[in-house]
């Protein structure tokens, strides 16, 4: 029997380096987030910082939706529902947590603990959303494309209706301490949940943008990702090759919902009050447009499309009325002339290699 130390000593230096290499992207993530956090205030004013925050949130949302819509080809139209779940749970944890632990919300002296609370809320919201994703993913096994779209759309609407039925917000610390579990669901019905402090600064948002992108990209290039793509191309062929449809479809849904929840929780900590309409189809359509425009299956494409679509209303402020008409036309024309989106399943850095690797037919995937 060899000891653990002997095992390690037998590993060649190149392989011994691997555990370190695994962490490199995460270090890069943190550095990137720090860079955004400290550089952008030098370049832009506060208003554009809030645009950058929104951009980050929508990048996380679009990339996560791409896991299920793009990689796996299961057309989900209820992503805003997952976002809303994450947003409400996250905001609830921070708000009621602050009330219980500190007695008031948004006290500057409580900022560090508040940020920790936000992270706890983020995890709680994302996990709840992932649970919802599991529930929605299960029927997806029996539903083909169009039906699934409708069921997920219905799911978003159900979330919206349920959020509208929630009881009034509790703002009294003593009342919250007396019955924390009951008051936690006080999400203030149709008016929306107000008063969550804006703990999600540029650093946290862009950290999660980087983390989401790295995970999504690694997912795509892993064996899971290949299974996802094979399901998207042809379910029967995938099953014949031994891909467990149930496992991978549910996995895609859970992952997408998890990061959707992260996006929602981040968004509710940027000073935007979560409201039930956030779970509606309008928001879901916005994210779908980003995914389709960027390319179904392209992580960098989604990032780019999310950036463009968040910036566009800022730049075209005079054309506000026509913005959504433009989006709709974009969607139709894109399907007619470039059915796979800007980048298709490829990433931006694959473009220089040309189209040799993937001979693409006129109509896209068969």
């Amino acid at each position: 029997m060899k000891t653990l130390a002997q095992h390690i000593s037998e590993i060649s230096p190149a392989r011994a380096f691997r555990p370190v290499a695994v962490f490199v992207p995460w270090v890069v993530c943190v550095l990137l987030a720090l860079a955004v956090h400290f550089v952008s205030p030098l370049l832009v004013n506060e208003y554009w910082e809030s645009v950058l925050q929104r951009m980050g949130v929508f990048i996380v949302a679009a990339v996560s939706l791409n896991i299920v819509n793009g990689f796996t080809g299961q057309f989900s139209m209820g992503h805003a529902g997952f976002m809303a779940i994450g947003g409400y749970i996250g905001a609830g944890v921070t708000y009621y947590g602050s009330l219980i632990l500190h007695g008031s919300v948004g006290d500057p002296n409580f900022a560090v603990q508040g940020t920790l609370l936000m992270l706890a809320g983020l995890v709680a919201g994302a996990c709840t959303a992932a649970g919802a994703g599991y529930l929605v993913g299960l029927p997806s096994l029996r539903l083909r494309g169009d039906y699934l779209a409708i069921v997920t759309l219905g799911f978003g609407e159900i979330i919206r209706v349920l959020l509208e039925l929630t009881p009034k917000q509790v703002s009294d610390a003593a009342a919250v301490k007396a019955s924390p579990i009951v008051s936690f669901f006080g999400f203030n019905g149709a008016t929306g949940f107000a008063g969550t402090p804006a703990y999600a600064n540029l650093f946290w948002i862009w950290l999660f943008v980087a983390i989401t992108c790295v995970i999504a990209y690694r997912m795509k290039t892993s064996s899971s990702g290949r299974a996802f793509l094979s399901i998207r191309e042809d379910e029967i062929a995938a099953r014949a090759m031994g891909v467990d449809l149930t496992k991978y479809k549910v996995r895609a849904f859970v992952l997408a919902a998890f990061f959707g929840g992260v996006a929602g929780a981040l968004y509710s900590h940027t000073g935007v009050n979560p409201s039930p309409t956030d779970a509606g189809f309008q928001r879901s359509f916005d994210i779908i447009i980003m995914v389709v425009l960027g390319g179904l299956g392209s992580v960098s494409g989604s990032v780019l499309a999310a950036m463009i679509l968040v910036l566009m209303p800022e730049l075209l402020r005079d054309l506000q009325q026509y913005r959504l008409v433009l989006y709709a036309l974009l969607l139709i024309v894109m399907m007619l002339v470039r059915p796979k989106g800007l980048f298709g399943v490829k990433e931006i850095w694959d473009l220089s290699r040309g189209d040799r690797k993937q001979p693409v037919g006129k109509g896209g995937t068969p």
Binding site: F75, D146, V151, V161, L162, F285, M335
Partner: protein, 425 residues
């Protein structure tokens, strides 16, 4: 129990509207095997078209008596049908036909795109096609004339509107209790009957009073006025003063006759009857078209296999276009009937419309998509679930519908009639 029957009647009316919209989904699914997401927006377009046309026509004829000529109804209906038919054809021709061989996902995305396009174009406030009366104001001693407020615009704009009343919603099953001569009481706002009257517990009573009114130029005219009675249950001897709203004086009621009318426990409105009759006749017509005509058998052939149908000499492009137009026309008919019952029209991208379309789609799926009779059955089923569920606990009525959809898809993925009927369209 009364409430139960009231909801039942509403279910039949709303259900036939759902069924009409669901037929459009199911027809298109039958021939092309994809969900026409833009169908609910064609429906909304129909509702707004009939609103705009009726406002423009009523504004043009500007009848002070407020009586709507019958032909306005026909004009509004025909224009809604025409506009929706043309738009339905264009959608098929320019958005879906180029993608006929494309993967399903692309067609689905295009359909969402078309739906968003129709919604958001309808939201733009366009130039006014009908304006209210000109406004004059005196400013610095000069009379300034301003154009009136726009009553209707094309495109329709983002503010909600109210459909003008084209047909009075007369309650059909009212009963006349008694009639005779009416006199005013000593106090203003009271009436005195010439016979004993009995009011029973829990019922509504109304007087239709026929009286003579003097015009400004000295002539007289006869008007029929509706007075609501405000009386305790019980029997009243002749001469008892009974209060009414609106209030009339004894002089005004001089020499008038009355009909005492008891409102039914379960009122059946004219509009509900119109909705059900029109819908059912359209459905029967559709059934005949599909199963008794050559075009119908071409549609059924397409639903089995497009290539084979083409080889057998069916002009597939024509039949597909025809199916789209047919679906759009059915949606337009529903859209014309819908605002008669619910006059409030929301902006075209409002969630209410999307939900309405979704429910109709759910009806098509529950009945078995691609199956014409299934769509009708599903329409009534969804309306029943929604309205009776709403009776039990109103805030969750949308949740019931989607829960039913998920349950049906999980346990009977082909819908309720998906297997029972073999002919599909």
């Amino acid at each position: 129990m009364d409430e139960f029957f009231q909801i039942l009647i509403a279910t039949v009316a709303v259900g036939s509207l759902y069924a009409l919209i669901a037929l459009g989904y199911t027809l298109v699914y039958g021939v092309l095997k994809f969900i026409n997401f833009a169908h609910s927006d064609v429906f909304v377009l129909g509702a707004w078209t009939s609103f705009t046309v009726s406002v423009v026509v009523l504004n043009k004829i500007a009848d002070p008596s407020g009586v709507t000529p019958w032909w306005v109804v026909v004009v509004a209906f025909l224009s809604a049908v025409t506009v929706c038919g043309v738009v339905g054809y264009c959608i098929e021709r320019f958005a879906y036909r180029p993608l006929r061989k494309a993967p399903r996902l692309n067609v689905l995305i295009t359909a969402i795109g078309v739906s968003l396009l129709l919604q958001n174009v309808g939201q733009i406030t366009g130039p006014a096609v009908a304006r209210g009366p000109e406004k004059t104001s005196i400013k610095d001693g000069q009379t300034v004339t301003q154009a009136g407020d726009p009553l209707a615009t094309v495109p329709f704009g983002a503010s909600p509107k109210s459909m003008p009343k084209l047909i009075e919603n007369v309650v059909l099953n009212e009963s006349v209790m008694q009639s005779g001569n009416l006199a005013g009481g000593a106090m203003r706002g009271t009436v005195v009957f010439d016979k004993p009257v009995t009011f029973s517990e829990g019922r509504q009573y109304r007087l239709d009073v026929t009286r003579t009114v003097a015009n400004a130029d000295g002539t007289t005219r006869v008007v029929v006025e509706k007075l609501n009675l405000d009386a305790e249950p019980g029997t009243f001897e002749p001469g008892t003063e009974i209060r009414t709203t609106p209030r009339r004086t004894a002089a005004e009621l001089q020499g008038s006759t009355y009909e005492l009318i008891r409102s039914p426990r379960v009122p059946i409105g004219l509009i509900e009857v119109i909705i059900v009759v029109v819908s059912l006749s359209l459905m029967v017509g559709l059934q005949l078209l599909i199963f008794r005509t050559k075009l119908g058998s071409a549609m059924r052939a397409l639903s089995h296999n497009i290539e084979t149908a083409a080889l057998m000499g069916v002009n597939t492009n024509f039949v597909i276009s025809f199916t789209f137009v047919l679906g759009a026309v059915l949606a337009a008919s529903a859209a014309f009937l819908y605002p008669m019952k619910y006059p409030g029209l929301n902006q075209t991208a409002h969630g209410i419309w999307v939900l309405l379309g979704l429910k109709a789609f759910v009806a098509a799926v529950v009945g078995g998509i691609g199956n014409v009779r299934g769509a009708v059955l599903g329409g009534f089923l969804i309306a029943a679930i929604e309205l009776f569920g709403g009776w039990a606990y109103a805030p969750l009525k949308d949740v019931y519908v989607f829960a039913l959809l998920i349950a049906v898809l999980l346990y009977r993925p082909n819908g309720l009639l998906g297997r029972a009927v073999t002919e599909k369209v």
